[in-house]
Symmetry: C2
Subunit: 552 residues, 2 copies
């Protein structure tokens, strides 16, 4: 072709390490010391020899077990749930009084969670789950080594009741709707638990603990609570800090008495996944101010350090989660997650998740696209296409002109993947909202961006996005790249830490208590700030001195 | 008639105050100070105005309730069970945020147990139950005044699976047997709760707490646990100290989250009813040594004072609980519970429970009979009848000679109520066993009976028996009558106290910890002691100087 945009080429497709199916024999030790955490698991196990009762020692079967644990230097004053006590007579007979026992040790007195004939499963295993609205990510955790034995990702089956979380909340209002959503989620968690365990010869019914992390709506779903009040003014959850849960109580097929931690939320926008992210980042222990941003359906922003944490949130994200752009989609199989445009030859290359034929653009793909279109001169600073009408990469649609990202012959459904000027504008509003929130928060405490020590980027967005691109479009402030720290799936990582570290559990509650909500008053100053941020990278280019330098 | 035993007459029949049907408007204030107890109920209630959520205050619905309670000077740091959190959105709307809430306050943090639109039931009500093997006795308790509003007695429907508790334990071993016994008991407790509440315009589904007291087997039944190990060597319960129970968990139709206290047992023979009795007696605070005896299927004996408690038990009681004497029966309607024989005219008078035609003899009736037969010279000190053959009150049976207590024309089934010499001998063995246990226990600590300050007699036996009669037959030591203190239904009374007093709850655990078990070695010395005690009142009459003086 003689066009200035020659044929597009695919990049070598790389599978995301996190994406699908079980990895076997990929046990990763958890370096708690390296993260400044102690090793004090939620549940510990012991193999003990229970003294058989005699006429001289008529202590009950349950209390004998407690005594044997204490003798084995386990915790004292234990109590056993009724459901376990009921089976002890037969169990002792079968095991000749030699039993394996798992004990929830983060409470006083502790609580016996499982008891089996020795050697039982040998150690206490737990399940950490990131309850994403699109995907559920599981980690099978050996609480005692400690180590992550394996990871697994499943699609969230709730999508059949609503692609995005808002439509699911509305579906939950229908008769039977909530129940359908809750059951779908619980079944998927059970399925994930069963799958990840079976690969390793374990039975998920013998998992001794779980930690669940997710946004406020997702944690409400797993708890069986209606998220109705979360999406309606004044946007409040039913519960912030669920406590004392066991697996059986919320329909999870782990050991019935297994304790289940659910990360606390701090309102509709600050979910348990954010608390997890804060603890994983360690900014709650930082000596200098740090930022954490998590972009999902909403932009959640926390500024702070050891003494204080200030949070703000706004509806910034729909464009980045498949909610707005026609071709937008979640970061799932077939999503274009990376785009590069050669500055000279104007050749566009892209990458899809799993290397499958392209189906749409996920958040990081959209940010890449926006940045690359601007840096290569294919759009102007207002997001208008510079390609002339009739150019093969320009398509005229009902919505106006659009840019062809992936030609029809390379997509899954044979239709081109395009982004219109209208969609680019929505994207600009999203990035402007994020920058406005960041600016408002930092101004509220009298700091400037150059005083920020580290800038943590959490969530799926943070995992896949290229900070250079986010700076290039003016979404994130123009800091040196070494200050940007992607946290990966910090929701899952926080859940893993909560299973193995008492300090992590305490810090989750500490950040939950410390986090102060900054209400964003929509006033003229904020609107001015927003308007100025709607250009690429910003009306005030001096805020983004680095933009324009080549990104490769 | 010209016989030395002229026609028997009934005494004026008195209904037992405790026996059947609800008493209305019989509220009895509980004098805690008089019993040296504090008033700190298990559950307290508050009526609070919850602040409606706003954009400026996005605390979750559950935590708002906790905050409102704290503001109303209730406990801080509360948690709400998931089941209550789920209904809060609708409840607030219905109640315009003015709610009544009941909180379990004996734990830290407290736990929200009930929440209703104000004024709700107005205060926290609880149910105390004595789980007797024959009868279930209920008390409806106003935890906050505090007061007993009403009492109710129901027959234990488990009798259809076995008259005595041992036969029920065997029935529990059959397929489905345990479940049948557990369900029968739980249904009866639910029925009693519903009946006692309905009289007072209450709904048992709104009872905020319960305390259950009973022997070890009965508490195992209510918990759904098999009592199999209790009756088989080495006689151990499944659990000593059940904790953290809620009504829903054990199938009780109170408020589902209502905490349920189950009195702890200290082995097969020392049931929660005995712990209750110890606390009610106050001997755990006494400065001088006291005895407590509880005669049911077994004789349970505790000797002690503030610093120490020493217990022993033995199979003393079958004869006194309807298990041995052919005409023996439990202290139920139609049981002869009092017998007097005129010394001169040899006229026998008796009383039946409820004044119904006689059906048999209960424990106190048997003790009375034994004493009166001896004191009036109708039996000798070995329990042999002195009446000559052919006498109308003497009957020759397959078992040998028998004494006619109630003639055929006065009994329910038209057959005479008799006690044979063989049965009298069993009775003598029972009383000898009791005296032997008492002697063994007191000797083991180097005390003598005259050093005993108070002698508490607990249980149904203690409630109805005349201590003078028990002394006359040599069952209890020959102390001045003012030292004998009947405790009445101390099992129920202890449960009532546990509902309203933290000190009582603490003392239950304290006596549970302090109580030491004295194993009764069956050796020659014990056998000699037992043999000497098989006569009336004893081989060594100097031990019973008062016996022979007229009892009226």
């Amino acid at each position: 072709m003689s066009s200035p945009l020659p044929s597009f080429k695919k990049l070598t497709v790389l599978n995301k390490p996190d994406t699908p199916t079980v990895m076997t024999d990929k046990t990763e030790p958890i370096d708690l010391a390296g993260q400044g955490m102690d090793h004090s698991p939620l549940v510990r196990s012991w193999t003990v020899q229970v003294t058989p009762p005699s006429l001289r020692d008529n202590t009950a079967l349950a209390e004998r077990l407690a005594r044997a644990i204490e003798k084995a230097t386990g915790p004292a004053g234990l109590t056993a749930p009724l459901s376990l006590a009921a089976g002890l007579a037969d169990l002792y007979a079968e095991a000749d009084y030699r039993v394996w026992v798992a004990v929830q040790v983060d409470r006083d007195p502790g609580r016996i969670v499982m008891v089996e004939p020795a050697p039982g499963p040998g150690r206490a295993y737990g399940l950490a789950v990131d309850l994403g609205s699109t995907t559920l990510v599981f980690a099978l955790v050996d609480l005692e080594t400690p180590a992550v034995i394996d990871r697994l990702t499943l699609a969230n089956p709730q999508v059949k009741y609503g692609e995005d979380i808002l439509s699911r909340v509305h579906f939950a209002d229908r008769p039977g709707g909530l129940d359908a959503l809750v059951q779908a989620l619980r079944q998927a968690v059970n399925q994930g638990a069963a799958e990840i365990c079976s690969v390793h010869g374990l039975d998920s019914g013998r998992l001794a603990a779980a930690a669940l992390s997710g946004n406020t709506t997702m944690t409400h779903f797993i708890l069986g609570l209606s998220p109705r009040t979360i999406i309606r003014e004044p946007y409040v959850p039913v519960i912030n800090r669920p406590e004392g849960l066991s697996a059986a109580q919320i329909g999870l097929d782990l050991a019935p008495e297994a304790p289940v931690l659910v990360m606390p939320n701090k309102g509709a926008y600050f979910g348990g996944d954010l608390m997890a992210g804060l603890v994983v980042s360690g900014m709650n222990r930082a000596e200098k101010p740090c930022f954490l941003v998590d972009v999902g359906t909403n932009a959640e922003v926390v500024l702070g350090q050891a003494d204080w944490l200030l949070g703000a949130a706004g509806a910034a994200g729909p464009a980045l989660e498949g909610g707005v752009a026609q071709m937008g989609m979640a970061a799932a199989s077939g999503a274009v997650d990376r785009v590069r445009i050669d500055r000279t030859g104007k050749a566009l290359t892209y990458r899809t998740i799993d290397g499958r034929p392209a189906r749409g653009l996920c958040g990081s793909g959209l940010i890449d696209l926006l940045a690359e279109l601007f840096l290569s001169g294919l759009i102007d600073f207002r997001g208008r296409l510079t390609l002339p009408p009739g150019h093969p990469q320009r398509l005229e649609t009902d919505e106006g002109p659009a840019f062809v990202v992936v030609p029809a012959e390379e997509t899954e459904d044979g239709r081109p993947i395009t982004v219109s000027e209208v969609e680019l504008d929505i994207l600009l509003r999203s990035k402007a909202a994020m920058y406005t929130i960041l600016t408002t928060v930092i101004k509220s405490v009298g700091l400037t961006f150059d005083q920020i020590d580290r800038f943590y980027v959490a969530g799926t967005f943070g995992q896949f996005i290229d900070p250079r691109m986010a700076v290039a479009v003016g979404m994130l402030p123009d800091l040196t790249l070494d200050r940007f720290v992607p946290l990966g799936n910090s929701s899952l990582q926080g859940a893993i830490l909560a299973l193995v570290s008492g300090q992590a559990r305490a810090e989750v509650m500490e950040v939950w208590r410390k986090l102060t909500y900054l209400e964003m008053n929509v006033n003229q100053e904020l609107m001015n700030r927003f308007s100025a941020a709607r250009f690429i990278p910003h009306t005030n280019r001096s805020l983004f001195p680095s933009v324009g330098t080549t990104i490769t």
